[in-house]
């Protein structure tokens, strides 16, 4: 008995110590590569422009000067910088709400109700998954112009509408709904629950993981979106989302590196907060997407 227990405790060997230290060395080197750019960005956003270049040749380049001037300058020099962050948050919120409602309802219809053409629609959706989205920017612009959604502030709607419906998300929702037992809805129906109420009160709570996953991916996609916004808001400074606005700061002449780094740092704060607050959901969502 005793020997059996002893055997379970593995002895510490030279080889083991070596592999372990090799792992730590590798992790530390990679860690430096992964973190030093971000660390440098934050530290140097706390310095005046001239000092960034003066410090560049010494170790001081990794030390902050705690000069918040660049942040102040950012907001005075670029009147719409704060607004651009709000724009981004607004665009994200609208897109998430739209995506969740429209796609989940469609997926529910395709997973529960039999009507003429529902099988054809499912096939079409699977085929549409193959088509790369960015090739449709040009035709989308043509459609938006015909709908009058490229005029003035209407372009906000034009910018957001095409991103709402997504074959990918309908597919994900449907796969999840098919796994929910039908008895739940039958019970709800017996209790006199209407179809729409059944969906929001019975199905949606059961499908929280898929709603969370889709919400997170929509958020990440919309927050990162650059190409379409860059086109849509090219001459509308006050409507630009953050990502596009940052390029204004970055390419501003004369260049103020402190200001650029302050903008990049400040622009990362909202999404960092989201990641920290929703880390459990995000990790689950990421894991969920990989387990399909």
């Amino acid at each position: 008995m005793e020997t059996a227990i002893r055997k379970h405790k593995k002895p510490i060997t030279v080889q083991k110590v070596l592999t372990k230290s090799a792992f730590y060395l590798l992790l530390t080197v990679l860690c430096v590569i992964f973190l030093f750019p971000i660390f440098w960005m934050v530290m140097n956003s706390l310095k005046p422009h001239a000092q960034i270049y003066a410090d560049m040749n010494s170790w001081k380049t990794f030390l902050p000067a705690f000069d918040f001037g660049a942040y102040g300058e950012l907001f005075t020099m670029f009147t719409y910088f704060g607004r651009s962050i709000l724009n981004s948050i607004f665009y994200c919120a609208v897109t998430i709400i739209g995506v969740l409602i429209v796609n989940s309802l469609a997926a529910y219809a395709l997973s529960r109700f039999k009507f003429p053409g529902h099988k054809v629609l499912v096939t079409i959706i699977i085929l549409l998954l193959m088509i790369p989205v960015e090739t449709s920017i040009v035709p989308q612009v043509i459609i938006l112009r015909n709908l009058g959604l490229l005029k003035g502030e209407a372009r906000i709607i034009g910018y957001l509408l095409p991103g709402i419906v997504s074959p990918m998300y309908i597919f994900q929702f449907r796969a999840f709904f098919l796994g929910i037992p039908k008895e739940l809805e039958e019970a709800a129906a017996i209790d006199g629950c209407g179809r729409l109420r059944t969906f929001f009160r019975v199905i949606a709570p059961c499908a929280k993981p898929v709603f969370a996953t889709v919400a997170i991916f929509t958020f990440m996609g919309q927050w990162n979106e650059y190409v379409f916004a860059n086109f849509m808001f090219a001459s509308y400074e006050s409507l630009k989302p953050l990502q596009v606005f940052l390029q204004l700061v970055n390419t501003h002449n004369p260049k103020d590196l402190a200001c650029v780094l302050a903008a990049l740092t400040f622009g990362t704060i909202p999404i960092a907060i989201v990641y920290i607050f929703f880390q459990r959901w995000i990790i689950e969502g990421v894991a969920f997407s990989g387990l399909k």
Partner: protein
């Protein structure tokens, strides 16, 4: 996918069961006549209520989908055979297959863009895959400081594409911190993004740097789901670490592996934002990718909508082929 099939099978089972019950039980009374709840179409019966509610639920997605998903495809398909300008679409000139001929025979830039996309994909996918999988393997053991490292590698994922691009642009500038470091260590300053031979590979590095933490997380959750007993059994059989990795770990997380591989492949081929911000496709078109060229032709250049649509079609066929073959190839011997 399996879920879908099981659920559909079950639905049919239930229907069969219902029928047999009706057959066996003699109905004591004829049910009272009421409004017909079912109708037949092409030999299949549907309920009115289901049709009404189903279509109502589907309506918003259907309308938006027809306008913004299906119509663009139809437009692309039809414009691909014409000469058109995005600012003057009234005049369309039918040119047959000229746009396709132009892409393959007369336009060296199309080939440059295609080559850049392929080179980028071929470089970034293995690099990022090995990095992410290696990190996940190391962090899946019980090292001290596990959580810290996991977060450290995930931090770049939190930066947006635009922030990453602009940050690295400044880091790699001719008077930037990295060139300063190289010079102070005795090297000669590098062109990086302004050197046609380096620019694309710099973008490969930046993409892997930003994305690896994300795939690491997916791999970690995949590794967590491998039952511990298999490892114990392998250890009893005297398998060493390398054997365990290739014969147990990798086969066990193969579904995760193929998912990550395919999404990465497609994502890499879509590259557009980073070159748009950092290099505008330059220097010397060294970072002009296919999706960027399609965008430029359609939106930026005059008179390119037709040509852009033709290239978009080629691109779609290419991407679908990649997605389908890689899926086939990866799922062929997928036993677990």
């Amino acid at each position: 996918m399996e879920n879908v099939e099981i659920a559909e099978n079950r639905v049919e089972d239930v229907e069969i069961a219902d029928q047999s019950v009706q057959d066996i039980l003699p109905s004591p009374k004829k049910p009272p006549k009421r409004k017909r709840a079912y109708y037949k179409l092409f030999g299949k019966s549907y309920s009115f209520a289901d049709t009404k509610v189903g279509l109502a639920f589907l309506a918003p997605a259907l309308v938006l989908g027809i306008i913004f998903v299906v119509t663009p495809i139809v437009i692309s398909l039809s414009y691909a055979f014409t000469e058109a300008d995005i600012y003057n679409l009234g005049e369309l000139k039918w040119v047959g297959f000229d746009n396709f001929v132009k892409a393959f025979a007369d336009d060296p830039l199309f080939w440059t863009a295609l080559k850049n996309s392929v080179v980028f994909t071929v470089c970034v996918v293995p690099l990022q895959l090995v990095l992410a999988f290696g990190l996940a393997l190391i962090l899946n053991t019980n090292l001290k400081g596990n959580t810290f490292f996991r977060w450290a590698f995930f931090v770049p994922v939190m930066l947006s594409l635009a922030v990453t691009s602009m940050l690295w642009m400044n880091l790699l500038a001719s008077d930037g911190i990295i060139n300063n470091l190289i010079v102070s260590l005795g090297g000669s300053p590098q062109g990086f993004l302004s050197d046609p031979d380096q620019a694309l590979f710099v973008i490969v590095f930046i993409s892997a740097w930003q994305g690896a933490g994300y795939q690491m997380l997916i791999f970690l959750s995949g590794l967590k789901n491998v039952p511990k007993e298999i490892y114990e059994a392998a250890e009893l059989d005297g398998a060493n670490k390398v054997q365990t990795l290739f014969h147990i770990t990798i086969p066990a997380i193969k579904p995760t592996f193929s998912f990550v591989f395919i999404t990465m492949l497609i994502g890499a081929f879509r590259l557009i934002t980073q070159p748009m911000i950092m290099t505008s496709g330059g220097p010397d078109n060294a970072t002009l990718t296919l999706s960027y060229y399609i965008y430029n032709q359609g939106v930026v250049y005059e008179g390119g909508v037709g040509y852009s649509s033709a290239m978009a079609l080629i691109y779609t066929v290419f991407m679908s082929a990649i997605a389908l073959t890689s899926r086939k190839f990866l799922e062929k011997d997928n036993t677990i």
